[in-house]
Subunit: 391 residues, 2 copies
């Protein structure tokens, strides 16, 4: 997803939140990955807001996208200039109402925002894994999350919610742990990464790996492959927008100039914007994590993993109620891909609500303020909350 929107947020937010860490898997009981590789220890960074109710039935697990983190809502300190990445959706009285629900958000395995990933220390060598870190899958991310949820004493999640790569985790949760998920909200996502999406990810990875500072992934403590990562981010960024949104936001407007410069460099506003996004990303994200998480997304194919090639079959044990949302201008995970999953769910007689939201902002739309989504989310969670209540 793109850089989270800048909030000029005067609405209510959750009280101060704190990043917490949960560590599991030791040398004797390592975490087995789908590749067959093993890692230990595994740490997941996570944050919670709201209060878990007595029967532990109000937990909502939020799953973040490619470059997200556990800081989903609220501020760490009163001085914090920016709230969490989905503060417009998560908080008291908001779409995911923290007065009602206990929200958990955990940084994914493979990331660099507190959870174990390629920048973590390899206990075998005492230095960061780099590319000795084994490849991971969306399934691995979700299996690690399940261990955390167990640790929190939650037998069944009221809802799993996420967009983009987070939406893939939502689908994986429902299919892998049917008895532990009452409902699911899958936004702007897909059941399998398309050739187009793989292509963009691969070119972005090539860009990182072509950076002379990448050093085959062992660059920690040295210069970072910043330019490669910035270009990778710029490529990604274009896919998060749309022809229409770029025309409206930038058009052919020049940066600080009225005439063409006849020089290379950021001359059009769209060029300057992309370069800025690239630079900002270098400061906060690890290039290797970008490689690992995009590869996990490329590997994602629910039908192959869980349905022997049949998407319908992959949902056969699933019990969750679904809200599936796509956006008209999202060309990375276009609506037809959401329709495919909805069709497969319906063939399994699952309870599915589907909505294609009219939006010009491309894939990024799922992160932007949208009354329609808020309304859908509120209604869906209220309904599943009532229907899932113990009798």
């Amino acid at each position: 997803m793109s850089e989270y929107i800048d909030h000029d947020q005067h609405g209510t937010t959750v009280g101060p939140v704190e990043k917490q860490f949960f560590t599991f898997a030791g040398k004797e009981d390592p975490f087995l990955l789908e590749s067959g590789a093993e890692i230990h220890p595994v740490t997941l960074a996570y944050e919670t807001c709201g209060t878990l109710n007595a029967d532990r039935s109000n937990a909502v697990l939020i799953l973040h996208a490619l470059s997200g983190d556990s800081h989903v809502a609220g501020y760490y300190t009163p001085e914090d200039p920016k709230p969490g990445w989905w503060d417009i959706m998560v908080g008291p009285g908001k779409g995911i109402d923290t007065d009602k629900y206990f929200v958990i958000c955990t940084n994914i395995l493979g990331s660099c925002m507190g959870s174990t990933g390629p920048a973590s220390i390899n206990p075998e060598t005492g230095i960061p894994y780099g590319t000795d870190f084994p490849l991971i899958t969306i399934g691995d991310m979700v299996r690690a999350q399940k261990i955390l949820v167990d640790h929190l004493g939650i037998q069944k999640l009221l809802a799993v919610v996420g967009g983009s790569v987070g939406g893939m985790q939502v689908l994986e949760w429902c299919v892998r742990y049917p008895d532990h998920v009452a409902s699911a909200v899958a936004l702007a996502t897909t059941c399998r990464h398309s050739a187009l999406a793989i292509a963009f990810n691969e070119v972005a990875r090539q860009s990182i790996m072509a950076d002379p500072h990448w050093c085959n992934g062992h660059y920690y403590g040295k210069a970072k492959p910043g330019m490669g990562l910035a270009i990778a981010r710029m490529i990604g960024h274009i896919t998060y927008l749309s022809d229409e949104s770029m025309r409206l936001k930038f058009g052919r407007r020049l940066q600080n100039k009225s005439a063409l410069s006849f020089e290379f460099g950021a001359e059009f506003q769209v060029e300057s914007y992309l370069q800025y996004q690239g630079r900002k990303f270098i400061e906060r994200f690890d290039a290797n994590s970008f490689l690992y998480i995009t590869k996990a997304a490329d590997y994602f194919d629910l039908a192959r993993e869980h349905g022997k090639g049949s998407l319908v079959k992959s949902f056969s044990k699933c019990l969750a109620r679904f809200l599936v949302v796509s956006y008209t201008s999202d060309w990375l995970y276009p609506t037809y891909q959401s329709r495919e999953m909805v069709t497969a769910m319906k063939k399994n007689n699952l309870d599915v609500s589907f909505c294609e939201i009219e939006a010009q902002w491309g894939h990024d739309a799922f992160l932007l303020p949208n009354d329609k989504l808020n309304h859908l989310m509120t209604g869906f969670l209220r309904r599943v909350s009532h229907e899932s209540a113990p009798v």
Copy 2:
């Protein structure tokens, strides 16, 4: 445009063709560019097929796209494994019938296929220009072509024909030299580069300029910025295809394997294909030319250059008959952009035929065999040929 299609071409082609060179502009009469810079000498590589008729009224100028060259049709020698890039369209009895028309195709200014560009020797220094080559525009390319056409003794072209960046040159010809163009065929093109198209070009340029071998553009005689150029090409390539064509051509099929490798590298067929296209491109194209030509495309804005911001006004002196063709799955220059130019032409009471061709192959469709396009081309050229005949 993408790597030209592999021909298994047993149809008739033009006889052996020969690359020719025309040089103009000396130290005393340099070629003045739109930027205000001057260059000399200027060489254009060009090829011709067919025969110029007695009254010199059957000349068709074909304008190539980003990475094309003057070798539009036929073979250089009988042993030549591949014909010119548009051999399916240009030849005896073909859409552009060389039994009827005298076809000229010239490598654009700024390219590296025989015409003057950044790899040419700078007469001031005796070494290649590199990035001391001044920035050029689509207008500059066309003005150089006009000098060649004059040199060939052709007062009025029967038609100018081109797609993509070649289509931009078509539009520029008609607007800049209204008295010298009887008709024009603009395929899969635009009157102004969109923010989306600029964004992709800029990221591709960044990739070249981030290559440590780029050396600020002065890499001639040393290692080439191959990886940067390959990545730039891969980015471009994705934009030439479509979600549908990539799904049909590659889907999620693996390269030589039945199971995931859990390693980085070209594992999906689409990854392998893009890497192959990137590598092939390095062998035949100059990275600096890629920078200069993409920048010229980004600068292209007919309304700004010729209509004081009004597209309608920019066609006000235009006299040519037009055939405008777009393709349903072309998301780089989508149909709405062709419709915009058609509307502006019609407001000037120009004779315009417009067709949106149903095609799943994205922007590349204009280079692929298509009966509909052949039919349109044949009919259009026959009509303008009759209507333009001297009475």
